[in-house]
Symmetry: C2
Subunit: 303 residues, 2 copies
């Protein structure tokens, strides 16, 4: 094979990671970590959420962080918005790449955002309206696309239905099927993405996973096998859904680096700098090391 | 697809697992754990090693354990033997299924068994001679088939050469490519098995992995993708090579169960009983929980 293979890793430590830490982190430390991640070659990152600080206090300094990184060239910095008001704030702060989350599982959506799935789809419609006329990029995260912390296995029929409705509202969106609890298994991940891609040919898909059952890396590789080229990770494996009890952190970016790069699939990341950023994240109060990679791999074994 | 898919999991906790614990475990407790594993539906198991107790004190009660399980129907119980003398002892104890280990890496083989690879191949020849005329089954474990704790990445050319030499001595052997350090990556595992299977068509292959870099489950699945149908695991993720510093435990049998069974690939194991056995192993002095699965999966998501 002469075709260079690559994958885009979206770094979510500043959003899904930081919000998993209860104690408010100093804004300067957050900015320093984000700078370290950018220095490690991260090309896509979720910078944070424009949400009510009452809902997620850790995101109370979002405006300051947004101001610091506004217009940074060479990197796609997205922000999570829960509704039209969040979208307006994001656009006003100069962030036209928006992430909207809704859960496929009714029970989880009610727990997570206190809305039914239908109400969340209305919110998505309002976000799209609020951004009318702006050159935005929209990502829709379908949380609990595999397993729900409350209801167990989520039927694929439900995923297909919510996917269909989301795309009818936002036909140009990038769609992430999210393993919110980290209880998906690799072959099911592959199978569900294949089905979703048949349902929505041309739609760009992404995978967001957690490592609860030790399947994080395998799930990411099987998503890649299905054709997914956008995979989310968090340096140091930080993260965890506050409304998904028992779920551990996001799959560690450094573990994804190892699995992809050693397999000949380029990530564009500098592992030495990435591990330094991961160490800094793991050393945060309330931080932890969920990643497995400790040393810089010596060389590629794949040939 | 209507073809039932399955995988044979070889349980190695009683051998690779127990030997990783320094403190001698009571023989009765070892026997009870092995009974629990058999009760969980294990159909192949490495019962232990007929080695000098000076080399591995934990195996000092091997004869007692062997006597207890001798002739147990419905299960293949193998024993590791380091040389012809070990093979003779195993056969005398009624164990005709033998495991012989040598490392592809010269440096690791010297560290592990104080012999060059050529000397180890001579030992293999002596084992085969010692078993002449007996209806034995022979497994040859090629340790460090991917990565060496001393020399780093092991060239595939070396693996092919040692594989070729081992099969010229023991043409009917089952061959395991072992990721001794747990630093192999999934795509390399698949690629190396594909090459080995092309080199030795008809030879049954197995994969033995550790979870050091969090790749354990993914490596096993990619071995399966290459066509490997025999995968080793240790309940509770026990294990670790005493001569591979930094390597963590074997990939946990319960994690393998989850990845395969949820993906529609049958293991024949009873997860409830397996988790009970894993809990008992993790509670041993010097034991640990390296597995990720904590609850019995609710139902298969794969469809």
């Amino acid at each position: 094979m002469t075709t260079a293979r690559s994958v885009d890793i979206v770094e979510v430590a500043p959003r899904d990671g930081f919000q998993s830490i209860n104690e408010p982190l100093p804004t300067g430390e957050k900015i320093a970590i984000i700078e370290d991640l950018l220095g490690a070659g991260v090309k896509r990152m979720e910078l944070g959420s424009f949400v009510s600080p009452k809902a997620i206090p850790q995101m109370g300094d979002m405006a300051d962080i947004a101001a610091h990184f506004r217009g940074r060239p060479g990197v796609r910095l997205s922000v999570l918005v829960p509704n039209a008001r969040g979208a307006e704030i994001a656009l006003r702060h100069g962030y036209p790449e928006l992430v909207f989350v809704l859960s496929v599982s009714e029970a989880h959506n009610l727990n997570n955002v206190r809305q039914t799935v239908a109400q969340s789809l209305d919110q998505l419609r309002a976000v799209v309206s609020a951004a009318q006329g702006e050159a935005i990029k929209l990502r829709v995260d379908l949380a609990t696309s595999f397993d729900c912390p409350l209801d167990g296995t989520v039927p694929m029929g439900d995923v297909r239905r919510v996917l269909h409705e989301a795309l009818s509202i936002a036909p140009d969106a990038e769609i992430a099927l999210c393993d919110t609890t980290g209880r998906a298994d690799p072959l099911t991940v592959k199978s569900r993405f294949e089905t979703a891609m048949q349902d929505a040919p041309g739609t760009p898909f992404a995978f967001h996973g957690h490592d609860t059952f030790g399947m994080g890396v395998a799930n990411a590789l099987y998503a890649y096998e299905a054709g997914v080229r956008v995979i989310e990770g968090a340096a140091a494996g930080l993260g965890g859904c506050p409304f998904a009890p028992g779920a551990t952190g996001n799959t560690a970016t450094e573990d994804l680096f190892f699995a992809f790069e050693q397999g000949g699939i380029s990530t564009g990341l500098d592992i030495e700098k990435l591990l330094q950023a991961a160490d800094r994240i793991a050393a945060l109060p309330g931080g932890k090391t969920g990643g497995h990679l400790r040393i810089v791999p010596r060389k590629r074994a794949f040939a």
